[in-house]
Amino acid sequence: MSSDLTPDLETRQLLRRFGHFTAVDQIDLSIARGEFFSILGPSGCGKTTLLRMLAGFDQPDSGDILIRGESMLGVAPNKRPVNMVFQHLALFPMMNVADNIAYGLRRRGTDRHAIAAKVRTALESVDLPDAGDKRIDQLSGGQKQRVAIARALVLEPRLLLLDEPLGALDLKLREHMKVELKQLQQRIGTTFIYITHDQSEALVMSDRIAVMQRGRFEQTGSPTDLYYSPESAFVAGFVGDANRWRGTVTQVNGDTVQVSTGNGLQLLCSSKQTPQQGETVSVFVRPEAIGIGEAAGGADNRLEGRIANLLFNGANSSALLLCGPGEDEVRVALPQTGQYRHLKRGDVLSLYFSAAQASCFGGDAA
């Protein structure tokens, strides 16, 4: 009954409460075969609870979980076609690397020769062909990571769940593992569900991302969708960096909205929600969407600002400027082409950005 069109994972109105607290609030989710799907959200948003329900360590209060069309309600964790890479990896310290990887195969009763062959292939697939005899405490952080992934993948699960496994690594290794994990997933084609609070992990690796907040999905879409067209103030603020103003709508003209901020700035913004005149809104502008100097064909918004601080960080360098009568702090990305190398504190810059780059959202933004 499971054709190629059946999603690998579907949840229907999934609900989980702890006392009065709703951790997972009626989530509908559908993940296609071979997708790298991330669930991105701040801590306490319910993403871990959701993942534990998928793995079978927690039971939903209502709703259903289907893996390739089969309901997983009442199916124990050891009977689900799902494996998990734990936050702290949970490698068994009492076994060596090969025994760790063979553990699941042995529980299935796979025959000995087949186990040895599979363990070898698994170790090769994560570039650790000679690590089989090593003890777990002899491995580096990145190697442990790869063993944990190999241990789960050797069972050929339909879904691989990953619970922020890169969190414990140092920055350099984390950047490296991000790329490695994405390449591994593309090579083997297993569906990955990855939960994280780190937007850069989610943006780099995922085919699709669900941004989760207070037990609900705020928005689901490709990394580019979330970045360029956030649908809520929370997504705009959480995915990528953004400058933010609060203001009142003074004029609505189709998709274009004029907003007057409390500090006396007039901004032309775009909005999909068509707010009412007089409504309080939040305006988000990404630092990298702001141009420096004069726009060639004129721009919707212009600002002048004095540099309060230069934040040099290689390719991610930026400047903090105080703009407008209210001296609002605005962060502007500085492309490191050498052009802005001689900027210093106190310099005055002209800034511009289009209305399309300034998204505005009504309601109370988180």
């Binding site: 964790p77 949970a90 009492m94």
Partner: protein, 288 residues
């Protein structure tokens, strides 16, 4: 005096109470016991070196049978204590949280606020012919006459296990406390069931705690005098009872000392065997 000398002096002062205790109360008595065991009275107040005491042990079946019986019963009592203590320790370490955890831990400790003698008399009140259990059985009509439940091996084991339980629960709780829940979940996630998780993850992790608990309980049980004597009565045939008889009743200090030396050798050998079989080291288990 320079700084180094000060430090040395300080070190020896700190070590002194322990060293005194070790030398005065452990080494000297044992060496003396060994020398008494290795002599024979040839005439009043005249002694000669001899192995006759050890020979007596091996030629008199009562002695070495009691010796073997004590060893086997102690091993059995240790195994039973482990079986009973493990689920209790698991419950305290892994299932309970916060207040109820410390409360249950304390409850395990409470019986040890009274002496072993009182606790053992407590069991006698329950188990004797006119005791509580016997009365309840008669009252409920399950038996016709009074039942004597004391003075058999089961009663001895019951008392030994009861007295040893805490010394098994404490190291087990410590060992299981340090087992990450993630490891248990990982085992299930990879297809393991309760049995394989216990066998391949929980027990290997808890092994140092299991071994140190077993060593303590085994030594306490093997060297116990009170419980086997009170609950087992005259037929308890516990080796410590034999030692008592030789020293106190028979005034045969030579044979009594030989028995003492043999008991020490026995417990050392069994502990060593246990460590070898479980692949643990003494420092690895007791230093935790």
């Amino acid at each position: 005096m320079n700084h180094g000398d000060h430090q040395k002096l300080f070190f020896w002062l700190l070590l002194a109470p322990f060293a005194l205790w070790l030398i005065l109360l452990i080494f000297i008595p044992h060496l003396d016991m060994l020398s008494i065991a290795l002599r024979e009275r040839v005439a009043p107040r005249e002694y000669a070196f001899s192995l006759a005491n050890f020979q007596a042990f091996f030629t008199e079946p009562l002695y070495w049978r009691t010796f073997l019986r004590t060893a086997l019963m102690s091993i059995l009592a240790t195994a039973l204590t482990l079986l009973i203590a493990f689920p209790v320790a698991w419950y305290i370490a892994k299932i309970l949280r916060g207040r109820s955890k410390s409360l249950l831990f304390l409850l395990c400790l409470i019986p040890f606020w009274v002496s072993e003698l009182v606790r053992t008399y407590g069991w006698m009140i329950l188990l004797r012919e006119t005791g509580v259990v016997s009365r309840v059985l008669q009252w409920s009509g399950l038996v016709d006459g009074p039942v004597e439940m004391l003075y058999n091996d089961a009663a001895i084991l019951l008392g030994l296990v009861y007295n040893a339980l805490l010394f098994m629960v404490v190291p087990l709780v410590t060992a299981l406390d340090s087992l990450s829940d993630e490891l248990v979940e990982a085992s299930y996630d990879l297809g393991g069931n309760s049995l394989s998780t216990l066998r391949f993850v929980v027990i290997p992790h808890a092994m140092p705690g299991i071994v140190s608990g077993c060593i303590i309980v085994f030594m306490l049980t093997l060297g116990n005098y009170l419980t086997p004597t009170l609950l087992g009565g005259k037929d308890s045939l516990w080796f410590t009872g034999q030692i008592y008889t030789q020293f106190i009743t028979r005034f045969n200090w030579e044979l009594g000392s030989a028995f003492g030396v043999l008991l020490l050798i026995l417990s050392s050998v069994i502990v060593w065997l246990g460590l070898r079989l479980s692949g643990q080291t003494l420092s690895g288990t007791l230093a935790r």
